[in-house]
Structure formats: C-alpha cells, structure tokens
C-alpha cells in the first residue's frame, strides 16, 4: 500500500520535527487510517474516543459533527519551489493522517528515538485520545499568483472578497496562502496538531495568524443541540446539516462542472473574525437583544411564534401592524428566502483572546462557513448584514479570509494533489 511518498515525512519535514535529520523507516501507514467515525483509537485503545478518517472523498472537518474546540491557522508560503510546496503538502497529509488516529506526528513519537535528537512529536497529546480530531487544509487566493505556476488553476469561485461596510479589518488577521483547520473535542489535541504541522513547515511556510476557538457555535448534524454564541443566543439554528445530503450537495460541495475540475468534492471556506463588544451588549435590554436577533433568547424561537425550528413568519405583525420580526433583524437579513435560497454550512467557534488595552474582553465569534460558491452564497448574505444588521452596533469584523478547500485524498496520495495534476 505504501509508496515512497506516503511512507514517511520528507527529509525536510523531519528537519522540522527532528533537527538531527533522522530519516525514519516509516510505518506502513497507507490503509491503516481507514478508521470510521466512532472507531477505537489505535493509539490509546480508548473506545470512547472517536476518530474520523483523514482520507476519503471529502476532507473531514466540514460536515463532520462539529467538535467543541478549534485551532485554526493561516500560513504564508516562503520563497520555495513548486516541488517543495508539494513536498510540504505531502508531509502535512502524512502527519495529519497519523495524528487524527491518535498517533504521534512523526514515526518515533515524543518519547522515543535517537537520544541526541529532539523528539519528532512535541508530546502534549501523549496519552490523550484524539477527541474526534479532524485536520482540514485550504488554499488562499494568493497561492495562485506567479510563484508556483498555479495562476491558471485558480477557481473562479475563489474570489477576492469585497470590502464590506463596517469591516475594520486588521491586515495581520487577513488572508494567507494556506490554512489548516484543526478541530477536536480536546483543545490540547487541536493545538498539538497545529503546533506540529507548523513545525513541519518551518523553512517552507510560516504562521500568518492563528485562532483558538471554544464552544462550537453551530450544529452540523441533527443530533447536535444548537449551541450559543457569546451574545447568549442560539446560533446556527437554520444551519445546513450533514444528513441533508441534497442540501449539502447543492450548497457545500463543489462539482466538476463548476469550473475547476480539481476542486470537485471540495468546498470554499470563509473565515471572519468577529469581535463582539460584549460589554455594551450586556447593557442592552432583553427586548432589544431579542429584536436584534429576531428570536427569543431562551428557546431560540422566531419572534413570529413557535419553537426553535419553526420557520420564521416575516409577515406576522403585532401592535401597530409592525412586523414581529424586525426588518433589520439578524434572522430576517440572513434568511435564505431573502437570498434566492442561498444557504451556507456554518462551523464557527467562540473566542476570548484575553482582553484589550481598555480592559474589555477581546471576545467574539470566529465565523467559519463552507459553501460551494462564496460569490453567490456568503457575499450577498454578508452584504445584507453589513449594511443593515441591527447587530452591527455590537460587532466589528477584524479578520477575514477565503480558502479553496480541496477534496479529500486517497490514502496513497495527499490533500491538494489534484491542484498539481498529481494523483
């Protein structure tokens, strides 16, 4: 099963993990990773620990039931060759396939190997079950410039996002050539993944920005209870769900006829770091809070009536014939009915990055959405929100990025191979 490419890290990747440059013998890892969700973890023998396959038709971490924790990282690629970039992606896939089973990033692991070499895994995930770890890779628009001969490969759907009104983007939190989304129910496992993948990339790609997230703010399967954002409201009630195969096929997965054949089975990831001014929000009356969302705070029912999953009735009026759901409420502006049925798969997380210079929590929502065509799905929804959302008074968009997330890879290949016309 294993080939030279998949039998171990490249020498360069090993330089990242183990400065001594020991070329490992390699495990016959190819087929060993075809563990299904809910399968036992090879590393820990813990049956409770769920794992998701790294290899497959689609990358995991998209319609996978949203885990509780996130570590997301965007990278800039250094001045390297196309072949070196390919080698980096191979190394990343190799290490990721191992880590998602609960194995160490490198072949020796954190506590073994040559005594005079640094360990090829950093070690903080030793003894921890993988917690449903998924590692998902994406390519930013900048990767398709002249550096790697990829200009002709840029999918039309991988647009440059427009400037949205009320964007207050900080350049250091925007864009990136590559991204990695690591999700796990254990924050330390997610951090371990990003840390080791960053280490593997040293000399080839460097961290541009990264984000920790907790408290998933969306459900991606019907079995999951709708979680709450830091405004205290349920978030993503109307999210696309994995079980909705037709909806997912229509709104999430790119198809070969969409333009870029190498993206078939992939998707497009929008990330937006949304700072919430929670201090002023907390001083807002319950009446105004519910008006802004268009839903009740407790149950999450639309203000037009019903329970959480009742469709909002935008024509339902109350006193003085005013609509019960405000014209500029979040639920109204974001609703598919107002965007030609456009839907997105949300997979965001809450964040609190300490506090700012003014003693306010640096808190908010790290919004992630997957969609087949950002230009007709994310952009019109965000434009409507940025223009008129009553919530704008309490949010500030500080980070933004768009990535093409390629399809999954077979166990003999690596994620992104199709971009380079490799199998």
């Amino acid at each position: 099963m294993s080939t030279d490419e998949t039998s171990g890290l490249s020498r360069r990747g090993l330089l990242g993990l183990a400065g001594a440059g020991v070329v490992g013998a390699g495990l016959g890892v190819g087929g060993a990773f075809a563990l299904g969700a809910g399968g036992g973890s090879a590393a820990t023998g813990n049956d409770v620990a769920s794992t998701y396959p790294f290899y497959g038709e689609h990358q995991s971490g998209i319609i996978t039931p949203a885990q509780d924790r996130l570590h997301f990282a965007a990278f800039d690629v250094n001045d390297i060759s196309r072949d070196e970039l390919i080698e980096l992606l191979r190394d990343w896939s190799y290490a990721s396939a191992r880590m998602t089973t609960g194995a160490a990033a490198g072949d020796y692991g954190p506590a073994s190997g040559p005594y005079d070499a640094p360990p090829d895994d950093t070690g903080e995930a030793l003894d921890l079950p993988p917690g449903g770890l998924t590692i998902t890779f994406g390519f930013g628009p900048q990767l398709f410039d002249e550096r790697f001969g990829l200009a002709g490969k840029r999918p039309a759907a991988l647009i440059d996002l427009p400037k949205f009104p009320s964007d207050a983007l900080q350049p250091e939190l925007v864009g990136g050539d590559l991204c990695i989304q690591a999700c796990s129910d254990d924050p330390q496992v997610a951090v371990h993944a990003i840390r080791n993948l960053s280490r593997i990339a040293f000399g080839r790609a460097t961290l541009r920005w990264s984000q920790l997230g907790f408290g998933r703010t969306s459900s991606t399967t019907q079995a999951q209870k709708t979680p709450r954002n830091l405004f205290g409201f349920k978030d993503g009630t109307a999210n696309l769900r994995a079980e909705d195969t037709a909806g997912v096929n229509e709104h999430v997965w790119a198809a070969s006829g969409d333009g870029a054949a190498w993206m078939a089975g992939g998707s497009y990831l929008v990330s937006r770091k949304i700072r919430m001014t929670v201090e002023t929000w907390d001083r807002t009356s319950l009446r105004e809070q519910e008006t802004i969302f268009g839903r009740t705070k407790g149950e999450g029912a639309p203000l037009s009536g019903g329970s959480e999953f009742t469709d909002p009735d935008f024509n339902q009026t109350g006193r003085d014939e005013a609509p019960l759901i405000d014209e500029n409420s979040h639920v109204k502006l974001a609703h598919p009915d107002n965007h030609n049925g456009a839907q997105i798969l949300r997979r965001g997380y809450n964040f609190v990055d300490g506090n700012d210079d003014l003693g306010r929590l640096n808190a908010g929502l790290f919004f992630i959405s997957y969609q087949r065509d950002p230009g007709t799905q994310f952009v019109p929804i965000q434009l409507a929100l940025s223009r008129n959302d009553l919530m704008n008074e309490y949010v500030r968009y500080v980070g933004s990025a768009l990535f093409a997330v390629p399809p999954g890879a077979s166990s003999s290949s690596f994620v992104g191979a199709g971009l380079f016309d490799l199998a």
Binding site: T280, R283, A301, G305, G306, T310, L324, E393
Partner: protein, 390 residues
Amino acid sequence: MTTLSARFGLTAAATIAALALTGCVANNPAETADKTITVDSSANDCAVSANEAPSGNLVFSVTNSGDQVTEFYLLADDGLRIVGEVENIGPGITRDLVVIVQPGDYFTICKPGMIGEGVGKTAFTVTDSGADLSFSGDIEAQVEAANANYKSYVKDQIENLVVGTEDFAAAYIAGDDNAARALYAPTRVFWERVETVAESFGDLDPRMDLREADLEDGQEWTGWHAIEKDLWPADAEAGFAAYDQSTRESLASQLVADTNTLYSNVQELEFTLDQQTNGAIGLLDEVASGKVTGEEEFWSHTDLWDFQANIDGARVLYEGVRDILVEKDAELAATLDAEFEQLQSLLDAQKVGDGFRLYTELSTSEIRAFSDQVNALAEPLSRLTAVLVL
C-alpha cells in the same frame, strides 16, 4: 460612593437578577419559579396560576398557547387603567411581565389577536406584604414634563447645529481651512449631544456622519468625516489628494441641506420615557464604541469634544427623569450622580481653554481610566429603563 448592591444594579426592581449574580449558584432560571405567576393565553381564555399575590415585585410569565399574537394586561380596579402590559407575544412564545404592584384589587386579561375587549378577565388581589412601595408626587405629570423638556432640548441643539454648520460650510468653501478646523469640533458637539435622535433617521445618518471605515466598495462618502479628512490630511493614506473646489462645494452644500432636513424632521418628534432612558444608555454606548477608542475623529483627533457632548446629552436625559428615579430608587440615583461626577472630573482634567486635548495626546492610562469610568457609569445607567418604565 454607594453600596455594592447599587453599583451592580441590584436595585429593587432587579431582585430577580440578583439571584443569578450571587456567587456560584446554579445558573438556572427555575430559581425564581416559586415567585412567578404563570399565565396561559389561549384562543379564548387567560388562565392565571394564582389570583392573589403579596405586594412588591411580581412576575407574570405569559405563554401564548393560541395561534394568534397575544397581549397580557394587569389592569387597575377600574378595569381600565393599565398597571402593566406585555405585548406582541407570538404563538408558542413565553414572555415575562415584571411589575411592582401595590396592595389592592386588579384584573388580569389577555387579548389574543390584539383587538377587541380581550378574554378571560379575572379579578386579581394583591395583599399587603409590608414592603414600602409608596411614591409621592404625581409621577405621570413628571413623566409628561420630562418628555416635553427633552423635545425642547433636541430642537434647541439641532437649531444650533444648523447655524454652526452653515458657518463651517462657508469657511470650508471659502478655503479658510483654519477657520473651518476651528469650527469643526465645536459645531459637531450639537450633533453628538443628541446623537441617538439624530442618527435615528436611517437615510440621513450615513450621509452626514459615516466614517470612512464603514464604507462599502463603490459607496460615495459624504458628510462631516469626509470633510474632516480633507481638513486634516496628515494621517491620510499616501497619495491622498486634497479635494478640488467643486468637491468641497458639493460636500459642504449637501451637509447644510441634510442638516436642514434633520431640523425639519425633529420638529414634530415626540418622546416617551423609555426612549429617553434608552437614549441615555445609547449615548454611553456611543462613547464606549467610538470615542474612547479614538475611532470617531480619525483625522482631527477631537474625540474628547464628542465624548463630552455625548455625556452632556446623557446627563440631560438623566436629569430629566431624576426626580422620578429618586421616588422609585433613591440608591440608584445616588450611584448615578456619583458616577456622572466621577466621569466629568476625568473630562475636566483634559480641558484646554474651551476645548480639550487631542485624543493622540492622551496616555494609555488616561484612556484606560476613561474606559473604566464609562463602564462604571453605563452599567447602573442600563438599569434605568426597567426601574422607571413599568
């Protein structure tokens, strides 16, 4: 300084919230269940779980089990005067009415469909719990006076804004940039004092007060801040070209015209008590979101003028209802008095002549002190509506 409870907004009308904030008790709304009276508003009934309660803070938790939008009222013994109401409850939705009730005879009634006489009118008795709920003075007359006074204040500020804007525009068109710069902040003060009213006209606000950061691709930028950038180009991006004369004229004349439109718009405005109390907290939020951070006056750095004006406006709103507040919650009034004073003393320390030091001249610790004091004032101020408007 006042007691801890007042500082945390745990006033008489907020005893429910107090439970949730006390240490490590479970974060469970059921804590209050034993005090809550439930109301089932169905198609043709209004079933109240009790017909008697002790005087003080009552919570009616109204669930709409019908299929029309409903309302619930607590009526005085004449069956007409409204003591408390909760409206716009959609089918299936539960909403609370929290109200302070004196001993006496009342009626409860629901109004599914929001028209007609209502259904399920039932007598409701409030017994004397011994709690002191007496108000002296004629609160209704005080509220009316406050509403009228605020209306006069808004009109006066906008009149001043019209005159100031005309002078500012004339200087700018004439190319007298020194004069225009000198008039900029002192004129904007009239806008900032009533900002929550001025910005309530959805079409005017973006034309008059939009910051460059809030533009979307291709959107034309007009108003105060577009002119500000031209008058203080030092912090503009490389390659920023000063506006030509026709741009100056069109920006200035549109600002004057829009200000006149604003003037006519406010002539017929009437205010309610909750608009005033919410306006006060809205002005504090403006300070917290834009002025304390130095983002409002990005080129002129005259943020403290706006800061002071927002606080002036909030204080006018507060003073207008203060007598009523003293009747209902003297402790909260004392807290707010003290916090307003404290904030004003911080502003006074930055005064230079008729104006203020520039935002860029403030130290990090001075900015931090402003931010902390805005929080210290805004948190108790946010209780005002619930205390006054029942």
